[in-house]
């Protein structure tokens, strides 16, 4: 079988002195939506940030399209075709909505054009001139996702996109993720809410104490509920 789009092996990461990831291994194939599930502090966000090159120190292997990126700086990782939508959304207050949307440079052909993005997120067009942080939480999340759709990045990493949002907005984000999957994007999703994860993902990894402890496909999910409940402590 061909090499997966993203292959992470033995990934270790540190924030300053604290050793946060202990040999994480995951694979994401072209066109898949894969989630990282786990409790708070299990290392899900750190895994995304370590793949993106945003931790103090990292070791192991991060291969993207066969290219080793473990020694690369974050701007080169972005240019290789990986994009991150961070947990805190990272909308810039000194930029208006359009400037926020156009900020990430296009790294490859094949991203969505502005028209397609506005069709997907009509609110962003209406609020084009508002300062980015004057949007509602849901709109900010839409903006944070929208701006990485433009860049042509193949792998989109979304860190808890549903956190703190109203159910109707969560549904809209679910539709958005299915839509971008249909357009051929690959998604690595961090979620706490596994009922939501179930509606969008093909496979799930479960993390605990900075390691991957289990992997389930979405079909097996119903049969593995007891096990997952134990991990996630719901």
């Amino acid at each position: 079988m061909a090499e997966p789009l993203l292959k992470v092996e033995g990934l270790e990461a540190w924030y300053g002195e604290s050793h946060v990831l202990h040999g994480v291994g995951i694979e994401v194939r072209q066109g898949e939506v894969v989630t990282l599930l786990g409790r708070n502090g299990a290392g899900k966000t750190t895994t995304l940030r370590a793949i993106m090159g945003l931790v103090g120190k990292r070791q192991g292997s991060v291969r993207f399209e066969g290219q080793e990126l473990i020694g690369a700086r974050s701007d080169r990782i972005a240019r290789a075709g990986i994009a991150l939508c961070p947990e805190e959304r990272g909308i810039f207050a000194s930029l208006d909505v359009t400037e926020n949307l156009l900020l990430p440079p296009v790294v490859r052909a094949g991203g969505m054009d502005l028209e397609a993005i506005y069709t997907l997120f009509p609110n962003l067009k209406e609020r084009a001139r508002s300062p980015g942080t004057k949007l509602s939480g849901g709109e900010q999340q839409m903006l944070a996702i929208a701006r990485i759709l433009r860049t042509g990045a193949r792998l989109l990493m979304l860190d808890e996109p549903t956190e703190g949002l109203a159910p109707v907005i969560v549904q809209q984000i679910g539709r958005t993720i299915r839509e971008i999957k249909a357009r051929g994007f690959t998604v690595l999703l961090v979620e706490q809410n596994f009922r939501f994860a179930q509606t969008v993902a093909d496979r799930h990894y479960v993390m605990e104490h900075g390691q991957v402890v289990d992997a389930v496909s979405n079909e097996e999910l119903a049969g593995s509920m007891d096990r997952l409940h134990a991990y996630l402590g719901v």
Binding site: D75, A78, R79, F92, L95, L102, L103, T151
Partner: protein, 295 residues
């Protein structure tokens, strides 16, 4: 009473206009400091020395190479800006992870070394630099006073350069990167922007602005190694009043305080050299973030 005041003001208008000329230098220098501080979080104490270098490079170009004022107005900022690139790459960039104080100490030390080297080479007495032919003719009649053409040009040039800088930062894509990186540099880099290179070029641009002001100043003040250090103290007060890192704030406050200084010379000359510091103290008490600063 009011008529008295108006009469005094009319007599003093020339002072006020000259205040505007000083204000032009305050604006340009604090603009460069604001650009650098916004991006690097470094208070560039070498700014006065770099201003002086701009004037000296223009002087050297004229006297050693026969390059006149107009080419020097472009070339000297480029030369001094290139010097800024070397400083940032080799020294300043190593300090970003440390406390602000280290950047301040380093750039202060650099300023002392640069000024020492120039004093050693050129002595402390000033050297003349004539304004270009086209700006040296008879003064312009403003109705209430005669203003040397060159001083009028300084005000216009400073206004245009401030406007260009503001447009680049507020209206262009590059400016959007700069503003975004000021808020969250790590994320901008994770979008694929080469932030370290952008930081280097921002420092160089701020330094080049200082050198541009230096070339503008060469025909007005004599070209001497101390010309920057005497001006920069006032400029730091301007930056504090305007608000650290605010582009609009530094331009408005620069010109405004030049005017205030001029007005003080009319109404109470004894206070003209301290008025800016008095305003600084009041602003710091009432609005510690500065008039245009975000708290």
């Amino acid at each position: 009473m009011l008529e008295d005041l108006l009469f005094q003001l009319e007599l003093g208008l020339p002072q006020v206009v000259l205040g505007l000329v000083n204000g032009a230098f305050y604006a340009l220098l604090s603009l460069g400091l604001a650009v650098i501080f916004g991006m690097l979080n470094v208070i560039n104490f070498a700014h006065g020395a770099q201003f002086m270098m701009g004037a000296f490079v223009a002087w050297m170009m004229l006297n050693w190479l026969g390059i006149g004022y107009w080419p020097a107005l472009v070339l000297a900022p480029l030369v001094v800006g290139a010097f800024g690139v070397v400083l940032e790459k080799t020294m300043i960039s190593r300090l970003y992870k440390l406390d602000h104080l280290y950047g301040l100490l380093l750039t202060f030390g650099i300023a002392l070394i640069i000024e020492g080297l120039f004093r050693n080479q050129f002595g402390s007495s000033g050297m003349p630099y004539s304004p270009p032919e086209i700006l040296s003719g008879p003064p312009v009649d403003l109705g209430f006073m005669f203003l040397p053409k060159y001083r009028l040009w300084v005000v216009v040039a400073a206004l245009v350069m401030s406007l260009v800088t503001w447009l680049v930062i507020e209206k262009t894509r590059l400016g959007a990167y700069l503003r975004a990186a000021t808020e969250n540099a790590a994320l901008v880099q994770a979008f694929g922007v080469n932030v370290p290179r952008m930081v280097t070029l921002t420092y160089a641009a701020g330094v080049a602005l200082a050198a541009f002001a230096g070339v503008l100043a060469a025909p007005i003040y004599s070209v001497n190694p101390q010309m920057g250090s005497s001006l920069i103290i006032v400029v730091f007060a301007v930056v504090v009043i305007g608000g650290m890192g605010s582009i609009l704030g530094s331009v408005v406050t620069g010109f405004g305080l030049g005017l205030v200084e001029g007005l003080t010379k009319v109404f109470y000359p004894e206070a003209s050299s301290t008025v800016i510091f008095v305003i600084m103290a009041i602003v710091l008490l009432a609005r510690p973030a500065g008039l245009f600063g975000r708290a």
